[in-house]
Amino acid sequence: MQHRRQRGALRLAVLLASGIAGLALLGQQANPAAKAVPAALAPDGALTIGAVIALTGNANLYGQDQRLGIDLARRWSLSQSPQRPLRLQLEDGGSDEATAIAGFNLLINQGALALIGPTLSQQAFAADPIAQRRGVPVVAPSNTAKGIPQIGHFISRVSAQSSVIAPLSIAEALRRDPAIQRVAVIYAQDDAYSTAETLIFQKALTARRLPPVTVQRVQLADNDFQIPITAALQLQPQLVVISVQAVAGGNLIRQLRELGYRGQIVVGNGLNTPNIYPICQRWCDGILIAQAYSPELDTPINRSFQRLYQGVRPGQPPSQIAAQAFAAYQVLFEAVQRLQRRGGLAGISLGQAREALMAELLGGQYDTPLGPIHFTPDGEVVQGRFYVAQVRMDPGGRSGRFALIRNATAPAASPPER
């Protein structure tokens, strides 16, 4: 009996092994990069832009805003009478590395011209090298970790790092109260964005001879901050500088106020979303925030974006995440149209088209809802304008706005971030 079972196991193992070998052979698809790009007027002339964003898992909060932003950009692009139509293919990148890799592979094998995504920086470090190796342009809508554009030539981003933005809001807080001596810092230590941002905050503080009196670390998933807040408040800070993500940030601000903190609060870019209003309600009032996107920017493209957004979410201002996703699709769309107009897409293979698009993308200037942007040769975004806003809540405390108080122009040729 034992003997038979052993033999059965062996047979099954051989069966499984041959199944795996078969799958391995079948999976070696012909590389679509060698295929010719169809003519613009051909029935299949639309080129595919793939997007891999978090539609499941705990990064879904951003993924939903990104899905909306990309879709609005697609609708906007249709009104621009494109010479080369684009087709959008959206895939769930999950909130983990493996799913993002699977999404990238899927879209690249299906012949996507360029990719938008993934949502998290950690996912980008996993999936971007694959696009780089296969020569597919990637525009990251929300990756802000150090080193993303340096993954390779084909990797770029429209999400500015906080190094330029963050110190602006500190400066504003100190301008309002030059007597500030004691600063507390709180940040989410398992969040890539927040850990990078808090270092910049702390550097800016130290540069002004205000080393923080305490640095409290919290987790991304934390929402009850009784312990870090009471620990921080015992040191009687006059300014609290926060780097966490949206919903947790709303809770942190609210609990700070409820526990009796009356001083100024400066928050990082992760809280630049109207999602925080319902969470911290009236307690949000007065916080200072540095923004990479301001809904109050008065340009034609931002007004178009706002109009489309209002059609889907009436009464809500768009979040920075949605605006950056819009910009990611927009830069790809405009680069493709420029290439098409110059005849740069005629008679070449998909692989060559991907390369040509990358060169075109990096060479262009774009007027986006974020303001005017362009890229360094590395693929790092150079954003012209940043904003410092103060939250002003309605008397009811359920909704509010980011009232613009500073409109800072970044140095024209800022060196690429390293």
Binding site: H3, R7, A9, L12, A17, R133, D190
Partner: protein, 300 residues
């Protein structure tokens, strides 16, 4: 369609399934596999990005020999760790052992997040590549799986394997039969850790990056699902379970937003439909009898 990248992920799933299966074959419900996976992956990520002697190229390439060395070292480190921890935790019974090993997974995760040299939240990135494409990883992953399978297959006829089965059936009786149960359980635990550590080292290169999120409580229970749905009475069960359950969410992509609900339903209802798992001893026996039936067991 299943591309080579997904196939590698499926093989990694199968390897981790076997790693959870090994202690279970000795009756020990250990969920420590993600901790050892994380340790192996972190070691490989650190070595390949910081130790120039391994020969990582400026173009992101990596010598095959160094990669294989890392698989070995990842397994070794995890094994040594398992030897230390195993002596302590294997005194625990049943669900207490399961929870203690979940605690270990969480402690390792927080440690990797907080240690000064593991890159914090972002982790370690830019891990050099021994192969130009995902297809390259197929061979080492299959090789590792074949090795694990060979060991499991050998175990069934070796005294160690028989002792494991005896403990699984009745630990007290096994001890009465003179089996050194502590030693046997520890051996199974260490074997499981070695496999998880090597798999982690392989996965670190395959994923291009490594961070604290790679070994967590969720992954622990997902791996257990590989074993349960595949069948916990033969090493082929977790292999099949790992392959299928890793592929399933990807194959469900066409259904859109409900894909994880469907995946959950499979895990919810699967054990009720196949309480013994997809691969059970009866099936193996029938498979083994194929062909001999005609000669020796003529059917009436």
């Amino acid at each position: 369609m299943i591309d080579n990248g997904l196939l590698v992920q499926m093989l990694i799933g199968a390897l981790l399934g076997v790693s959870v299966y090994l202690p279970l074959a000795a009756g020990q419900l250990s969920l420590a596999t993600p901790a050892f996976y994380a340790v192996g992956g972190t070691l490989a990520a650190l070595l390949s990005t910081t130790w120039p002697a391994l020969g990582a190229g400026a173009d992101g390439s990596f010598p095959l020999a160094s990669f294989l060395l890392e698989l070995l070292l990842g397994g070794l480190l995890a094994g040594v760790l398992a030897l230390l921890v195993g002596r302590l935790v294997l005194r625990l019974q049943g669900i207490y052992l399961a929870i203690a090993t979940i605690a270990l997974v969480e402690i390792v995760r927080v440690a990797i997040l907080n240690l000064p040299f593991t890159g914090g939240a972002i982790g370690i990135f830019g891990i050099p590549q021994p192969f130009p494409t995902a297809a390259g990883y197929l061979l080492p992953a299959l090789g590792l799986l074949a090795l694990a399978g060979w060991v499991c297959q050998r175990l069934e006829v070796m005294p160690l394997g028989r002792a494991m089965a005896a403990i699984r059936n009745d630990e007290l009786a096994a001890r009465c039969m003179g089996i050194d149960t502590t030693r046997v359980k520890l051996t199974a635990f260490v074997l499981s850790a070695v496999l998880a550590g090597s798999t982690g080292a392989l996965a670190a290169h395959f994923l291009n990056t490594w961070n604290a999120r790679q070994g967590s409580f969720d992954t622990a229970v997902t791996m257990l699902a590989f074993v349960i749905l595949g069948g916990s009475r033969s090493w082929l069960g977790p292999v099949l379970g790992g392959l299928l359950l890793t592929a399933l969410p990807e194959l469900l992509r066409p259904v859109g937003d409900v894909r994880l609900v469907l995946f959950g339903l499979v895990i919810l209802l699967g054990p009720s439909v196949f309480p013994q798992g997809l691969i059970n001893p009866g099936l193996l026996e029938r498979l083994g009898r194929l062909g001999e039936r005609a000669e020796r067991e003529p059917q009436p």
